[in-house]
């Protein structure tokens, strides 16, 4: 499959591999990433971090460091607690204890890399020099090094003398015991997924710019959501007491009035928000159990209300060097740097180094799943029992971390299969490890476990991996049908088709013979398949099934589209692209609606001063459907407005107005057309209130409409070398359906990039801690990212299920990464099955392959 990349294109843009708008600046070094922001008089930050997994802080001595050349200030954890509010988890779920914690730790450290002080100096080198002079006395505590430690009540608690099980939940769907009692077989297995890390090539970073004259704050950030970061920083900074905030409000009554006004406007626009949130009972329970939690939250909220506009930051995100989920959080470091800049009234830059990023920049996965499948002898699935333990490390990601992922894992577990009944038990535990963040399909363990388990069931029953899937997958004829966990699988959910096609492309039926013939020639070959569907963005009620009460806020995608005074069109989005190419794809969508070339469109993003408010930013494979949808509809409205004016100007009926390649004319007489610049002049003449530089402004919100799923089947072939333990991937096939494709080159790029990360996880990547919680993978020489030599050619076949739905675009950001570990692991087990091998973890470096195959003795046990 070789895509053709086309250049400027006069006809329809959607569906074509249009060359990217963002490329020229990125290819010439003109991109502007956060580390490229250099301000005069800017200070630099570096963090003093814990070398211990778990310890009390007995003393911090900073006098010598303060005297170090270039040092401007050192803020320890104790002082930081006077500057900022604690992070307070907003997720109210029954049975969840969400710890509160500060930007810096003052009394206790909970993982290697836990920040205890921030050093501000004239240069980064001077800040790092000073770190060496900060003396911290620690008294170590026994580490909770992994999930089994966390489940062991003899181990010390991380938080407030509570159990290290922070969240314990159970959901039962249907008559599970009856289904299990009536089964021919119950097959059980325990799977683990190792801790891995996103590791974008750009680490995290932030520059807090304080205008020396106005003291206005601009936060330059590598973030997936500019508005989220803005409001988290505004909420948690400038800690004031409740009486102080009330006093401020008494003096500045306009701030109360303004808040009341905007609250009223929101409630008028979204009356559903007046209903008590389903989260309320759990929230009340949380507050009853911990009244100080309520006080902390009120104090932060009042402080936010009392702030003047000038005391809130604007966030500016420009080019971002990848994220894959890790920049979807507001980090403790972000808040610490912000607080330091506010305290000093000076601009401060912090760029994380790779060692810090590996330690604390965001880890992911790290689950143990026990699963039982009740089946008939023919492979029909009668029910599942699933028990998840998710190790979210010490500090939950903010605003969303492991607890939220656990709920998506629960909802997604059935995938595109008929699962008549299901029992799902989950635990989220605290350990002395780095923070767990979203990583390209943070629920992906459901696909890995389910797809591995189907292979194990097939082996037990003596049927093929294809057979067991075909027997249980939801066929197109059964659609629409709800998953047992609630979300609707709509008529476009074509996982069955992808499976059938992949089986045909792989010549699956002839595989056993081919495999045997190869083995006779000394070649150990395997073929694995895996199928999934992902909410991209999912049906309208998807969020409600995951986190009841979250749907109203999560579901909305706003966009503005503006005909500017010079005849250019601006698409203004809350999306914050970081590699996905929205400047190109959203321009393609708008160009087709408007009938103008993409060169006439500028996509604007990342600047909270101009972009419409939404907390979601870019993530969750949502942009194609959500942003592609809202831009479609907003552009259509703009076109209507343009046509109104054109009809008047050209004294023609509206129906006869055509816009082609930017030429606005009466049908049949393109030679007598006018331009959008002409329309803009007339629009400005008619609307004296148009903003400077603008002619027509359209703002829309889109709730996702029908939403929908992306689905795929991957087939992976491997050749295993039993002398070296190396796994080669001679062929890899993807059959996928993401609806109408906006830009095939970008879609294929997302799929291939995701698969590369999935292959990386299985063959190379593991974040390791020893049994004492000591961190062991601090460089790219310890944590191996695959290179060009390790990633095979990937063959992609697209299906598009026809639909009447407009803007039938669905996301593909995460799928490659979600499915690849299952497909590759299944292939490796298939290759080694004749040796009796069963694989429980998608971490199969050469040593593990040789160990599984019995070539070498079991290696020393490596800690999780």
């Amino acid at each position: 499959m070789r895509e053709t990349i086309v250049g400027p294109f006069a006809g329809k843009f959607v569906g074509h591999a249009v060359r990217r708008v963002e490329d020229p600046r990125l290819l010439t070094g003109e991109g502007r990433y956060v580390d490229d922001v250099q301000l005069s008089g800017m200070l630099h930050a570096a963090f003093v971090r814990s070398p211990h997994a778990h310890a009390h802080i007995r003393n911090i001595e900073v006098a010598a460091a303060r005297r170090s050349p270039g040092v401007v200030d050192i803020i320890t954890g104790a002082e930081m607690e006077t500057l900022v509010h604690p992070f307070i988890g907003m997720l109210a779920l029954k049975g969840l204890y969400d710890p509160r914690f500060y930007a810096l730790s003052s009394k206790r450290v909970r993982h290697v890399g836990d920040p205890v002080a921030i050093v501000i100096a004239e240069s980064r080198a001077q800040a790092e020099d000073a770190i060496e002079l900060v003396e911290v006395s620690y008294e170590t505590i026994e580490a909770v090094a992994n999930a089994s430690d966390a489940l062991d009540s003899r181990k010390p608690p991380l938080w407030d003398n509570r159990s290290n099980v922070l969240f314990d939940f159970a959901n039962t769907y249907g008559e599970v015991d009856a289904a299990f009692a009536g089964a021919d077989r119950v097959i059980s297995h325990q799977f683990k997924e190792q801790r891995v890390s996103n590791q974008p090539m750009e680490t995290r970073g932030i520059v807090v710019e304080i205008d020396p004259k106005s003291s206005a704050i601009t936060v330059h950030a590598a973030t997936q959501s500019a508005h989220m970061l803005k409001w988290v920083l505004a909420l948690l900074s400038d800690r004031a007491s409740i009486p102080a905030s009330i006093k401020t409000l008494a003096i500045n009554r306009d701030r109360v009035t303004r808040f009341a006004k905007s609250a009223k406007a929101i409630l008028t626009a979204k009356p559903e928000l007046k209903e008590p949130s389903p989260m309320m009972p759990a929230m009340v329970k949380q507050f009853r159990a911990e009244p100080s939690r309520f006080v902390d939250l009120q104090r932060a909220m009042l402080g936010l209300l009392a702030k003047s506009d000038n005391d809130r930051p604007e966030v500016l995100a420009r080019d971002i060097g990848g994220a894959f989920g890790t920049k979807g959080s507001a980090s403790r470091e972000d808040l610490a740097v912000y607080a330091a800049a506010r305290k000093l009234g000076r601009s401060v830059k912090w760029i994380e180094d790779r060692n810090e990023h590996l330690m604390g920049g965001g880890h992911s996965r790290d689950e143990i799943v026990d699963i039982s499948m009740a089946v008939r002898n023919d492979g029909t699935l009668l029910g599942m029992k699933v028990s998840l333990t998710l190790d979210q490390g010490a500090y939950p990601a903010f605003p969303f971390g492991g607890s939220m992922f656990s709920q998506i894992i629960r909802v997604m577990f059935p995938g595109p299969y008929r699962v008549p009944v299901m029992q799902f038990n989950g635990k989220v535990v605290a350990t002395n490890k780095g923070t767990l963040v979203a990583y390209r399909g943070p629920w992906a363990v459901e696909t890995f476990v389910r797809e591995r388990m189907f292979d194990m069931v097939a082996r037990e029953l003596g049927i093929t991996a294809a057979e067991v899937r075909l027997r249980n997958i939801v066929t197109m004829a059964e659609l629409p049908t709800p998953m047992i966990t609630g979300p609707m699988l709509d008529v476009r959910m074509s996982a069955h088709r992808t499976l059938v096609d992949a089986i045909a492309i792989a010549d699956y039926d002839n595989w056993p013979a081919a495999q045997l013939a190869a083995r006779a020639n000394g070649k150990i070959l395997g073929l694995g398949i895996a199928t999934f569907c992902e909410a991209a963005p999912g049906p309208p009620d998807f969020f409600e099934h995951s986190i009841p009460g979250s749907g109203a806020l999560a579901g909305i995608e706003p966009a503005k589209i503006v005909l500017e005074a010079d005849g250019m069109v601006a698409v203004i989005t809350q999306q914050v692209p970081h590699g996905q190419g929205h400047e190109t794809t959203l321009a393609q969508v708008a160009a087709d609606q408007l009938g103008i070339p993409i060169e006439a469109i500028r996509v604007r993003y990342g600047d909270t001063k101009i972009t419409p408010f939404a907390m979601m930013g870019t993530g969750g494979s949502r942009s194609a459907a959500m942003a592609g949808g809202v831009v479609t509809f907003a552009a259509r409205e703009l076109k209507e407005r343009i046509v109104d004016i054109a009809a008047d100007l050209m004294e023609a009926s509206r129906e006869d107005i055509v816009i082609e390649a930017g030429n606005v004319h009466v049908a049949g007489v393109p030679a007598r057309g006018i331009t959008l610049a002409d329309i803009a002049v007339e629009a400005r003449r008619r609307d004296q209130n148009a903003a400077p530089g603008e002619a027509i402004r359209v703002a829309q919100e889109f709730d996702g409409g029908e939403g929908g799923w992306t689905q795929a089947t991957h087939a992976c072939w491997v050749e295993v070398d039993l002398e070296t333990g190396q796994v080669a991937i001679p062929r890899y096939v993807v059959v996928e359906d993401c609806g109408e494709i906006i830009n095939p080159a970008i879609v294929d790029g997302q799929i291939r990039g995701g698969i590369a990360q999935g292959i990386g996880q299985v063959l190379y990547e593991k974040i390791t801690y020893d049994d004492a919680g000591q961190f062991q993978t601090g460089t790219f020489m310890d944590y191996l990212i695959p290179t060009a030599c390790e990633i095979p050619d990937i063959e992609i076949h697209h299906i598009e299920t026809p639909s009447e739905i407009e803007a039938n675009y669905r996301g593909v950001g995460e799928g490659g990464m979600v499915v690849a570990p299952a497909a590759l692991t299944n292939a490796i087990e298939n290759a080694l099955a004749h040796l009796g091998v069963r694989i429980s973890e998608p971490y199969l470096p050469p040593s593990k392959i040789l160990e599984l195959a019995g070539v070498i003795q079991t290696a020393r046990s490596t800690a999780r």
Binding site: R19, L26, T28, G29, F324, N355, F780, I785, T787, A788
Partner: protein
Amino acid sequence: MKISISVNGGAQEHDVEPRTLLVQYLREDCGLTGTKVGCDTSSCGACTVLFEGESVKSCTMLAAQADGGSVTTIEGLAAADGTLHPVQQAFHDKHGLQCGYCTAGMVMAAVGFLDENPTPSERDVREGLEGNLCRCTGYHNIVEAVLAAAETGAVSGGSK
């Protein structure tokens, strides 16, 4: 210490701390922020530039070591009229970049590589770029781009 380096064909003279890395020097003293820092341990190649026409990882070299020499960075690759270098153009044509953070290093490494091996096989390209990590693309289109650039026959070794 005082150093003078020809950067993208122009003479640069600065007084730097002896410990200044070449990449820091380029980014902070010369203001050429196109060259990126990815890992600090010369594993990722995001900082690759040409020194005396050969690709080097500029986080592994002191600015002082480049004293008296010539350096080409991504900013110096396109022609004066803005025409992209064939490798830059090929990355554009083949969608060889997503987030763009590895791109400067990847392009410079490819220029250095093609100078040594103007007619590479696909395997040659993959091995030639082994020192450069990309987390977005899965490398497929990067390899395609380098092969396409080689096919133009127009690739010469930068500042050599």
